[in-house]
């Protein structure tokens, strides 16, 4: 799957869609495929302040527990509660219904430290 062009990416295989001072965050198609069948997602609480590249939760597949990192700092304004009953949405639609959380961006400059779709594609290709 090609990486959507309108997103920015982290080396840890997360994406962010920035819209004004709001950002939606998820994991990439490469990440969901590498994890395998996702069975549980643990997300931060709404209102939590999270710092760029900090560990903010976990994603668990049948076999493994993986840490989730935020590509961008901010205050958590919404988490995808549908994943509680349907964590497989992350596998099916990592850039859509499988989004993880939304933050109010605290430092828009951080976006410059993230990767374009083309640059991330190289990292994913090397990793996989």
């Amino acid at each position: 799957m090609a990486q959507p062009e309108d997103l920015v990416y982290s080396k840890e295989h997360e994406w962010a869609k920035v819209d004004g001072d709001s950002a939606t965050i998820g994991v990439t198609d490469y990440a969901q495929n590498a994890l395998g069948d996702i069975v549980y997602v643990e997300l931060p609480k709404v209102g939590a302040r999270i710092a760029q590249f900090a560990n903010v939760g976990v994603i668990e597949s049948v076999k493994a527990v993986s840490d989730l990192y935020t590509p961008i700092s901010g205050e958590v304004v919404e988490v995808n509660e549908a994943l509680e009953n349907d964590p497989a949405a992350v596998n099916r639609d990592p850039y859509g219904a499988g989004w993880l959380l939304k933050v109010k961006v605290s430092d828009p400059n951080e976006i410059k430290s993230l990767l374009s779709a083309a640059d991330y594609e190289k990292i994913a290709a090397d990793a996989g």
Binding site: G36, D37, V39, Y40, E42, V58, E60, S61, V62, K63, V65, E84
Partner: protein, 362 residues
């Protein structure tokens, strides 16, 4: 790192390969949950050629093996298979195995992770005469077909009547013309067969079974699905529910102990452990919540650390609940007991339940 005769088939199919017991083995093909579903409802094909196969011959095999194992070997009928365990002097488990009594000798199948240890163990205890050992680890292949449709799928290829073969029995025959020991054994909780063949015959057989039964839903399965299937079926996995420190008694395998045998390695320790009845033991747990319990997590009862998780997984055949096995103190082992499992610093509620979690409809 070693490869089984089927490695190229796994690689060609795009399987995800992981190191396991010194072999490069497929952990999944299309996905663990899809493969699990195929075995529960149709059938799945597994490469188990990494498991140790030892060939035992001679007049003294049965009486000798009876001194090293907890279950009875001497009472096995021709073409019978029997689960058995080798223990250390303290009663801890050296390996859990299956003996197959064939026409000309005995096939002993040991865990891949224990194959080297077991080969040394058997040789160290070899009597002066009457027993000959041959190590076929890696030179013979093992293909398992498991699932409710495995009889009809395999029958088209086999020259023995599979329907009349009883569970834990075997026959020597042919599959697609290839000489095979065909055993009605498995590690999934479903009906199925295990096929012991020469390694060079394995790829042809693997390809024929998969291609001819793909339309009926036969899929290649990896070790990931196998682990979920065996956990649901309450079957121990060496290194988890059984170790050199965990006895068959603790693992709930009392049924496999033949304490009326005159002597065997570990007998006194196991008899004493049963008698005192103070041992920590393996229990089944069903989690209340959605967070999976994983190996090593601490188990709590009323604020006391009473043990730890040994295996855990989501269980599609148990209502998609999270299930686990735990080794816990006796006071925490009664069915219905409410326990806490510590997951990333938070205690999550769980209930002790009888094993197995899943039993197929007969």
């Amino acid at each position: 790192m070693r490869r089984t005769a089927l490695y190229d088939e796994h690689a060609r199919a795009g399987a995800r390969i992981v190191p396991f017991a010194d072999f490069e083995m497929p952990v999944q093909y299309e996905g663990i949950l899809k493969e699990h579903d195929a075995v529960r409802h149709r059938a799945g094909l597994f490469d188990l050629s990494h498991m140790g196969q030892f060939w035992l011959t001679g007049d003294m095999v049965a009486p000798w093996a009876d001194t090293l194992t907890v279950n009875a070997v001497g009472t096995m009928k021709p073409l019978q298979a029997r689960y058995n365990l080798f223990c250390n002097e303290g009663g801890g488990t050296h390996d859990d195995t299956i003996f197959y009594r064939l026409e000309e000798g005995w096939l002993l199948v040991v865990n891949a992770s224990n194959a080297e240890k077991m080969w040394k163990h058997l040789n160290a205890h070899l009597p002066p005469t009457g027993v000959a050992l041959e190590n076929r680890h890696g030179t013979r292949a093992l293909i398992a077909i498991q699932g409710p449709r495995s009889v009809e799928m395999l029958q088209a290829h086999a020259d023995v009547d599979l329907g009349s073969m009883r569970y834990y029995f075997c026959r020597e025959g042919h599959v697609n013309g290839v000489p095979a020991v065909i055993a009605r054994t498995g590690y999934t909780g479903e009906d199925g067969f295990e096929l012991f063949v020469d390694a060079e015959e394995a790829p042809g057989l693997w390809k024929a079974l998969l291609s001819e039964h793909a339309a009926e839903g036969l899929v290649a399965c990896g070790l990931g699905a196998r682990d979920v299937l065996r956990l649901e079926a309450g079957m121990p996995l060496y290194g988890h529910e059984l170790t050199e420190a965990i006895t068959p008694v603790q693992a709930g395998l009392k049924w496999a102990l033949k304490l009326d045998k005159p002597e065997f390695v570990g007998k006194d320790a196991l008899a004493l452990q049963l008698d005192l009845d103070r041992y920590s033991r393996i229990v089944g747990l069903v989690m209340d919540g959605r967070a999976p319990a994983r190996e090593g997590y601490t188990v709590w009862l009323d604020g006391r650390n009473v043990g730890s998780i040994r295996s855990g997984s989501i269980a599609p055949s148990v209502g998609n609940k999270n299930v686990a096995t735990a080794l816990v103190a006796p006071e925490a082992a009664t069915d219905g007991t409410r326990l806490g499992v510590e997951i990333r610093g938070v205690t999550q509620a769980a209930t002790v339940v009888p094993l197995p979690f899943y039993k197929r409809a007969k």
